[in-house]
């Protein structure tokens, strides 16, 4: 494994999004993973519709909240094709599910994997490189005040309340860390990213890890 790995270097990570006042982190993280894995497969990097997942994943609560695993299960079971963001734009509120003709372009999820990697963050590194960006749930209570740097404290495991996307890691410095894309805009954290210390399940980052296959 390389000491440092970042899927942005392969040009397969879309820009940091802003969920605004919509509690749709679960949809942003899942759609971010689909975008990346689709691009990793040799397709153009395209922004796909988060609003489609928010409106249509009926087992979740739209902008009031949801589960990444339920969203992935819904995507896989229904083979719903995620259309371009421009065709079904984000409006920061839950709306009525729009349907598209079967022939319409879209990316569907063939399968997904979900595991607890706590105590196994080195394996998780391998899976990040092998599978692509990973959807994770975290305790983000202290992130209200985060400005930058590597989070090493003030974060609990087993108390997940937020969903994000791991897109890389860096073990070359004094403190090895995960590179995590958030959905609170680029003015938050490190241009929208947060760094989390590796190896101690900080913020519960390894508690529920999912990868998608398209």
């Amino acid at each position: 494994l390389p000491a440092k790995f970042d899927w942005r270097d392969k040009n397969v990570v879309t820009e940091v999004q802003n969920q605004e006042s919509c509690g749709g982190c679960w949809a942003f993280s899942v759609v971010g993973a689909v975008e990346s894995v689709y691009a990793k497969g040799g397709h153009p990097l395209e922004q796909l519709s988060v609003q489609q997942v928010i409106d249509c994943s009926y087992q979740n609560q739209g902008c009031k909240g949801g589960s990444t695993i339920r969203a992935l299960n819904w995507l896989m079971k229904t083979q719903e094709k995620l259309v371009h963001e421009s065709e079904y734009p984000f409006k920061a509120a839950t709306g009525v599910c729009h349907l598209f003709p079967l022939t319409h372009f879209g990316v569907s999820v063939k399968d997904f994997a979900a595991f607890d990697f706590s105590g196994l963050e080195e394996v998780m590194m391998q899976k990040l490189v092998e599978w692509g960006p990973l959807v994770v749930t975290v305790d983000a209570m202290s992130w209200q005040d985060y400005l930058g740097g590597v989070i090493q404290h003030h974060c609990s495991s087993h108390q997940a309340n937020h969903a994000v996307l791991i897109i890389g890691y860096d073990t070359t410095g004094e403190v090895p860390y995960w590179i995590v894309r958030n959905s609170w805009g680029t003015s938050w954290g490190n241009q929208g990213y947060v760094y989390i210390k590796m190896g101690e399940n900080i913020c519960g980052i390894a508690d529920a890890v999912a990868a998608v296959f398209v």
């Binding site: 006042s21 679960w26 937020h162 999912a210």
Partner: protein
């Protein structure tokens, strides 16, 4: 400065203005605690905490608005039989 920097629309001397000011003050108290040095933290890469776009929210408001992801229970890798899965049995 905060209202200009983060483009807030509440005007001075209103009920909301004072409520937000209290939240901001509480945030600054939290920042002191969060930034306090800890012996087991590597200093030069440590996280920094301070004023950002969420500083005028109470922790409750922040939690209700932004921390809406539900926890998921999945099995330890690679024990797939116990519930860690690759698709089928998720329902």
């Amino acid at each position: 400065v905060f209202t200009e920097r983060y483009n807030r629309s509440y005007s001075a001397n209103t009920h909301e203005y004072f409520l937000r000011m209290i939240n901001l003050q509480e945030s600054m108290k939290r920042h002191q605690l969060l930034n306090a040095p800890s012996p087991d933290i590597s200093c030069n890469m440590s996280a920094r905490y301070g004023i950002n776009q969420f500083s005028d929210l109470s922790p409750k408001e922040f939690r209700e608005q932004y921390l809406t992801g539900e926890p998921a229970k999945v099995s330890q890798y690679p024990n797939q039989k116990a519930g860690g899965h690759r698709s089928e049995d998720m329902a």
